[in-house]
Symmetry: C4
Subunit: 192 residues, 4 copies
Amino acid sequence: MNKTRLEAFSDGVLAIIITIMVLELKVPEGADFNSLKPLIPIFLSYILSFIYIGIYWNNHHHMMHTVKQISGAILWANLHLLFWLSLIPFVTAWMGENYTAPFPMLLYGVNLLMAGIAYFILQNIIIKKHGPNSILAKAIGKDYKGKLSPILYLTGIGCAYFSPLFSGVIYLLVALIWLIPDKRIEKIIDNE
Amino acid sequence: MNKTRLEAFSDGVLAIIITIMVLELKVPEGADFNSLKPLIPIFLSYILSFIYIGIYWNNHHHMMHTVKQISGAILWANLHLLFWLSLIPFVTAWMGENYTAPFPMLLYGVNLLMAGIAYFILQNIIIKKHGPNSILAKAIGKDYKGKLSPILYLTGIGCAYFSPLFSGVIYLLVALIWLIPDKRIEKIIDNE
Amino acid sequence: MNKTRLEAFSDGVLAIIITIMVLELKVPEGADFNSLKPLIPIFLSYILSFIYIGIYWNNHHHMMHTVKQISGAILWANLHLLFWLSLIPFVTAWMGENYTAPFPMLLYGVNLLMAGIAYFILQNIIIKKHGPNSILAKAIGKDYKGKLSPILYLTGIGCAYFSPLFSGVIYLLVALIWLIPDKRIEKIIDNE
Amino acid sequence: MNKTRLEAFSDGVLAIIITIMVLELKVPEGADFNSLKPLIPIFLSYILSFIYIGIYWNNHHHMMHTVKQISGAILWANLHLLFWLSLIPFVTAWMGENYTAPFPMLLYGVNLLMAGIAYFILQNIIIKKHGPNSILAKAIGKDYKGKLSPILYLTGIGCAYFSPLFSGVIYLLVALIWLIPDKRIEKIIDNE
């Protein structure tokens, strides 16, 4: 059972998600700078989600690199992750159009949290399949980032009612923490 | 004649189908929880169709794994399957927006039935090409799931006029039956 | 210089073209059978274009199978073909919504003709690169289909003003002629 | 660390960008030739952007061919390039609908400039990783095209306020300069 198609399908879905988000940048009626102004928050939320999908693709790329056998459980855990990521364009557009409202900001955080949980499940299924001495298990190590992210997401979700802007800053902070690709895996692969 | 491009093209089409369905989740006008409420049935039908496309991708993955030679007949039977699956976003959106109406619920079932028939045709052409002792022929065996599904689809279609909700439950039931990837093929491949 | 990415990119574009066409099947307002009726001509034109894209993918698949070296000219001739095919969703939707009007039917034929010419150019560049004794040159042979198609397209285009329906029948006829994959290439490859 | 997925993901994103641009060609209300007229500038800007995405895909193809090792920096520089290219459908549609207005024409040029800078950064990171004697470093050489393009983009951006049409001609000129694939790389690869 090879992993090529799993990667190809995931790449396809992630490539489409990252690209159709731009369809939410509706062409404005006017032709001057002012007609672009309402698009600025939508554009900023597009950048944030672009970075998130980029991070997921990046880490997915690294994680799958360590996978040797694909099982039914891995296939479905991967689809589960893609499901939550497929909702990102929707919550991004809603947040972009209502960036001062608490609920869209909260929902964006919930979506990030669910995607994070789905990634965590996929990661654990792969480790279980390949054993505690596998490259991935060693590479993850204590998984500080993986443990910190849900706490930050929950903080963002909890704060959305009081300050949507603050929640947005938290979501950006998590993105920046992850922006650096998983050096740990790269390092351990090099040592093998 | 290699099968790589057939798989790549199918993966591409399935990845796009599964992702553009989310475009039917139109960003609501308001920014509170109530403005999301009308989207709930559309969201639920999105989940159902996501699972179905996931199942088709999954089983297609397993089936193609056993294929050694691609013929013109296989290419067209595959395109025929993709045709019916490409209509899923349309029937999903229509059903989601009219979940209490019989006809959209009936049409969703008809689409599932046609996709099931197209899959059955593809499967039989592959078996014919590779012989009754091929991995796929052995793996399919008595094909209980494949025989049960059209009966359930027809039940759902027939009941739509009396209870659209009941039809929806039936379609969900078929999805749950198939959710488990085809262990039969995995098993026989391992024994080879 | 390998051909894998050329095939992957072409597969991607063709997969997207064939799938986004379904977005023109707008979800109707009503929920009964009558509300589907206006969609029937759009659906029929979708089927026709689906078959055409399928044929192009199929023949592209066979043709690229014979290619050994990719040159800049092949890359651009391939992009030129993809350009005309990328317009198919537009002319399909326009024709579907105005199936009794001559001009949309004429434009559909013009698009098919331009795609056919682009395919012909690509084919000739590949043959020139690989020599008159290459697999493709032998397989094409007298290329009856390739010579008949533009004549039929021109007939369809010329008749659109008098009978749009007749033009549609001609376009369907060309599709049926091509529906059978290029046995000629398959045959010669088998003999090599 | 292999480059296959980087290429596959980039191909996917570029294939989607080049194809969804056609969605901006909205099906007109009428069915005669006159109803197509307002689409002509949108169509022309579609052709221009199609050529640009084609050039980027083409050069990306050549550049990645010389890459032996993928690093985190290359991954993110590549995503940065894809980000700017993902905005092309938006600026294309806006320019097409307002081809006599200075600001949309200026923004199109800014987007081309940013994509050019992103490509330049990616190129430099790859050269740094592979050394000054790498195929790419030798192939780029003095990089006349790469140095001329930003100057021309800036000219187009600067002139947009006085003559949007002139800016459009400049953007077309840059496309024509690049239309020829990078013979330099092809040549040096052949000599290796």
